[in-house]
Amino acid sequence: MFSWKYVADYFPDIISKFPVTLELVLVPFAASFLLGFVIAAARLKKIPVLEQFLTVYVSYVRCTPVITQMFVVYFGLPVFLEKFGIDANGWNPVIFVFAAYSINISAFLSETIRSSILAVPAGQLEAGYAVGMTGFQTMRDIVVPQALKISLPMLGNLFIGLFQATALAYMVNVIDMIGKARNIAVSRGHLLEGYICCAIVFAIISLALELLFGYVNKRLAFGQKDEYGRRQRTEAV
């Protein structure tokens, strides 16, 4: 029998695993951001061999479900590491989830970063050169901040998507909120209540994240647009 009382009862237990979910989001996202940047840079610079390799990498990741990637890493990585004499069998499963999600998100992020950099008008780079700045300085001060602004809606989607994708981590024995709800379901026989708790937490956090990204987007407007995408003109001409 479903009862809201159990929802309230289980809530503290489930929310106590929220830090696990949080680290499943933050660690891969931070790693992916760095990795995605490097991949995007290597592809934009068209570094031979590396560029082709990364193109294959990105399309592999984009063409396979994240859950298969997670299993491939979870079961495959120990086998691979064994060849180098490293025993990964006793490792915390969280490490494999970090690795799998970092691979997954880095591919999507690299495409987001790459397309956003390409979307910054060439004239911006030329203006940097004309002022006497180096290519690196122009990228750092002019192009990347503008690319970041362009990519923000996509970054927000990816971040929220990753947050929700962490719900799969229980499948490789990580006890996050979902894992906890599953344990409760097994041990106490109340299936639905635990998952309702999870749904509530996921919904609240996702909403909060959306608001946060909306706010950052507004802060990075460079005087250009308000939140509805209209042009802001304090003064016509």
Binding site: G123, A130, V131, T134, Q146, R233, T234
Partner: protein
Amino acid sequence: MIEIKNIYKSFDKLKVLTGASIKVEPHQVVVVLGPSGSGKTTMLRCINFLERADSGELTVGDMTVDFAKVKKKEIHEIRKKVGFVFQNYNLFANKTALQNVMHGLIVVKKMSKEEARKKAEDALAWVRLSDKVDYYPSQLSGGQQQRVGIARAIALEPEIILFDEPTSALDPELIEETLEVMKNVAKRGITMLVVTHELSFAQDIADKVIFMDGGVVIEEGTPDEIFNNPKEERTKQFLSRIIAAKSFDAGK
């Protein structure tokens, strides 16, 4: 002083510059005229290496380089000596008017923030934009953006400023305010190389007018020589066409 000798540039099979040579003395204002496709803009862009010329020689101040084998470091040095004002302004979209002018002073000229701010405020006051220092480019009109562009170039105190059709993206009424500022730049004794279709500017301000067509210099001389006594048939044709178009515009 800036000098280009025998510059060649093609885009794939299209030969844009075929041996043009020009010279600009210090404090001179030189205007380059010519029909579209004559290579004026490409030549200007080759001077600060926004475009890479295939061959030829470039002298800026005390530096002389061969276009065919110029080094990255030399390109950087030359860019620091040369200012550039773009046809479509190209202000840094993520920076305010003041930051647009300040940024190069801080990053390239290694000035302190206070010093750069002071200098940038002066430059913006000079183009009569003191009330717009904190506006982003998207909040400024085309004419105002172009004036910020000019302030950005001037503040860096280059040996020469290149103007690439600075008024051709502007409405007629905004052209005047921009030309006015350019005239003031000329009065300050700043060396200028200007590609434009504004004949009146050339007539009033230029020390020398260069007429280009087909990737070479056809004729050069004082404004009086070019406008009143053009020697080459091609120059005459071009001028008569442009003047006819202008008077049609004016409803004459």
